[in-house]
Symmetry: C2
Subunit: 433 residues, 2 copies
Amino acid sequence: MEKTKVAIVGLGTVGSGVASLLLDHGDRTARHAGRTLWLEKAVVRDLSKARDCNLPEGVLTDQLNDVLSDPEIKVVAQLMGGLEPARGVMLQLLEAGKDVVTANKALLAEHGPELFDRARALGRSIAFDAAVAGGIPIITNMSQCLSANQIGSIQGILNGTSNFIVCQMDELGWSYDAAVAEAQRLGYAEADPAMDVDGSDAAQKLAILSHLAFGARIRWNDIPKTGIDTLELTDLNFAKELGYRIKLISHAELGAEGLELSVAPTLIRMGRPLAEVRANYNAINVVGDAVGDLFFHGQGAGQMPTASAVVADMIDTAVGRTPITFRTLELWSERESAVKIRPVDELPGRYYMRFQVVDRPGVMAKITSILGAQQLSISSIIQHEPDQREGGESVQLVIMTHEAPEGAAKAAVDQIMQLPVVSGKSVRMRVME
Amino acid sequence: MEKTKVAIVGLGTVGSGVASLLLDHGDRTARHAGRTLWLEKAVVRDLSKARDCNLPEGVLTDQLNDVLSDPEIKVVAQLMGGLEPARGVMLQLLEAGKDVVTANKALLAEHGPELFDRARALGRSIAFDAAVAGGIPIITNMSQCLSANQIGSIQGILNGTSNFIVCQMDELGWSYDAAVAEAQRLGYAEADPAMDVDGSDAAQKLAILSHLAFGARIRWNDIPKTGIDTLELTDLNFAKELGYRIKLISHAELGAEGLELSVAPTLIRMGRPLAEVRANYNAINVVGDAVGDLFFHGQGAGQMPTASAVVADMIDTAVGRTPITFRTLELWSERESAVKIRPVDELPGRYYMRFQVVDRPGVMAKITSILGAQQLSISSIIQHEPDQREGGESVQLVIMTHEAPEGAAKAAVDQIMQLPVVSGKSVRMRVME
């Protein structure tokens, strides 16, 4: 049977999973690729560190050059995290004639155009299905299976850590801090979970998907984003009362006036597939003009789901499918964006708003007249009786609006917050049907 | 830009959709395939019939030979239904050197091994993502994206017509006959819906998926199947009371003792993704040992969703991905099955049983002692007060069991039906968590 020599750079959690699949389950690759993927080298920084996979003699090395200088190694899974030296190593691998597979979304979101242009110029390919939504093969589905469609929108739960935290709060009534601690205990969140909970990780993935779906050339940190790190239990409970759940939704939608992009906690009606995504799962709903709604749900991270995606990419690369896709599909380049990104103030949406108001006659009239002046029409209101244990002075007022521009909703909230009868902080979130 | 000449054989609903995508949206193919798919010929039986797509002069023909004899036509979408002449035309196209794309699941389920062996011998390829679950790209996902996995199980709602009918009954309380009539009115069911509602269509699709996932070589009509055509509203209501919905589930599961296969109305706990699939949607849950649970949901039929899958396959074939997959993946052949199919009597499962019994002391003891003798342990029982309007003589008794072999469950029901206190027909269905 034909043999393709491969290498791994970076033997962390995902790297060890990839090594296990290649070493322990070679029969699968043989059956699905008609050849053996032969793990020739695994490059690590520290040779003395304990590994949870058993590598054959001679595979482990701390010399990247062992890979670069071996012309028989054709495919390399580059599984280092962070931007540098990952970027430099990626370029070295491409220059040395290797086709590269990566799971590093931050690297692609930051340096995608440079790396892809370089690979193209060198006649090499980069596969990256593991970079977005882990085990869900969304990249292959977008770049291959949906080719006959104009994608209209993408709505995704792309950060499993955030979803786990929100579910713990929503289902068990836990505080944000307790939920974060539990996510850390289970290994779902880093010691510093900032990139997950502030929406950065989701924005990087949305930037990659938007590029594939719309040809959008956007920097991930230009995507308006709000994380779950300021989400309160109060709002999860009010949402439930209204028949909704709150999820961290990454949203891209193509309209006549351009592409809308956002990452934010969003109310979704219960029963909709995205509303029912539990624990640390990821999910993506894609709407194409031919295919209609297509929904994917699976493990968005973790050792073996991510390794599953990396090895599938290594097989695709070894048999020649990825090089074809890379050559024929318009992928990332330094060229102009194919679509106009729409300013955030123009985006239309329905809104959930919460204010803390003094329980006094005339307050509702003041607030609703501000909403009216901004052309915001009210779809529902909740105000419970004041809690006497808290002095009975102030109450929570929740308003759901019909569709209106983001700018109008923001202006209304700003004006309402100026009222002397309104105190504390306000909350404003989008609502999806 | 490079140009690949293509043809369509059969210009029915799906064929017209494919023609529209190729003619009206050539820019997409260009962007996703780096080339134009040029529709050279569309072969129909009757030239005089009105079509809902506008073909350029000279494209429409009733001569298959116009395609066979043109060596520049490389890729042909063969969209005729039924077994013959579809099989013969497929063979002619392959002999003439064409790569073929098809949506004809019946043809593949019946003649797959012959057609695939012939294509292989001729160095040609057959793409068939549209044959299972329409717009859901499950074939590409199984044969490419999940290559690193040993698939453990597949559970699918693969017949949209059946799902629509069951939803109408479940959600609106309609009778089976009224729901079928509505499905026909909306174009979801044929005038003769037998193949849909008796489980044949789902069994054909399950045979194809099982081949891809497990290397199973099974004739579709050897898969034990029960359709929804005998489903009663009573059971949908009892299931609801127990916290379950009933869906027509196609199920394949690999165990140490072989592969279990079945198509049958099955109780699924509410809230599980498969339980919440509405209207005429399809859905598939695949479990892989690396990727974990992966769930797909989308339009399983209809003109444009199916055309979306056909055109994606035409692009994959034109750029060269399908020929690689066809060459490297172990696909259908006349060789031995890779797994043992497990006899249906051995399959373990939980069961829902319903009996009509006389409301008299000692009846429950008789029934439960039969269950006990078959080692069937009871997880819950429902018996409502007798309906006095119906004479108050007999009542419905519903029993849910813990896991037990199918054979034991069947034997218990047979023995219970022999009791003089039991009348009418009995119902037995599987329960999935």
